[in-house]
Symmetry: C2
């Protein structure tokens, strides 16, 4: 019934996580009815992000500038580095504003099942950052999953020769929990109780 243009928009929205065909249709109707207050602002926001989108060449964060806003923030502590699996993890930790240091995004986790090897992740770059010196502590903030912990172990081995304190998030994380889904209170606890890698 709807025109091809509207169908295309519905399908593009339905592919977003958290939206299905039904909610996408509701969203499209909302956009069509509120052209000035909904459609145009969303279009402009997408345009601006699309024009300026970039991956930070230092930490791997996705932002509209390179270096990203985290790396460019001079108030952050250069001696603290937090390693995370995904950009969403960085955002989740940074939302709580509890970590005053820098970040490093691996771009995934080691996984025999999915065939993800060390060279598929941003690990050499991480080792390079640490090797350059000036970092006192590296926090391994992997997910509390089997693969996350495997990745943390691997990173601990790769980094053990450097004069840094290696820590990991405290086991306040529920088993199987993923950072992006946790409440800030749990994240805060886990950060506060971080401990040396055994």
């Amino acid at each position: 019934m709807a025109s091809p243009e509207i169908d295309a928009l519905t399908q593009a929205l339905a592919r977003l996580p958290g939206l299905g065909p039904r909610s996408a249709r509701r969203a499209v109707l909302h956009l069509l009815k509120k052209r000035e207050t909904a459609l145009t602002p969303l279009l402009r926001a997408l345009e601006r992000v699309s024009e300026s989108l970039s991956v930070c060449s230092t930490c791997g964060n996705v932002d509209t500038a390179d270096p990203c806003s985290v790396c460019a923030d001079s108030r952050r502590d250069d001696r603290l580095l937090c390693v995370v699996e995904e950009v969403s993890d960085l955002w989740a930790l940074d939302r709580s504003r509890l970590f005053p240091g820098r970040f490093h995004v691996l771009g995934g986790r080691l996984s025999a099942l999915e065939g993800v090897r060390p060279e598929d992740l941003s690990i050499d770059k991480l080792v390079g950052r640490v090797a350059k010196g000036g970092i006192d502590e590296v926090v391994l903030a992997m997910n509390a999953t089997l693969e996350g912990q495997t990745t943390a172990h691997y990173l601990a081995e790769r980094l053990e020769t450097y004069p840094i304190r290696l820590t990991q998030l405290a086991h306040g994380l529920p088993v199987g929990g993923e950072l992006d889904y946790l409440d800030e209170g749990t994240l805060a606890q886990a950060l506060r109780a971080r401990r040396p890698v055994a």
Copy 2:
């Protein structure tokens, strides 16, 4: 943490029905990570809709052409007219492809509480369409709410002088409805409108 551009996009998405701040953030991350397969298609789809969006001057449907695809469809029966409150109702009825006629969107419902009067709705236009002739039956497909039914009564009065058949959607048990779970209003309606077993 995120740049102003990304924040603006998150906020624009969070205002869509069915998305909150958290799911909007996940959607934005998805868009940022899948630039070619998610962000660009969504942007293009929004652009095309934004360029061509219009309200049908005949029926009030929102589409990318005027007259809309329903009014322009020559296979539809001009003698059948279905009156609905909102564009979303038109889409819902048309998705089922059960109604072969034309539509008329009121743009709301009469409501003393919200101060919606007859002149705020597309009622004069509806009367005009009926007065022009050529219509055999008008289906009042208002919601089964107090305000929807008030609106239907008002429309019935406005249209009673014209030589048309005025009908409304049947009220009763929804398909799959179980007596034990249905409200008393629905049960009362279903009982009142009971009909002989075929």
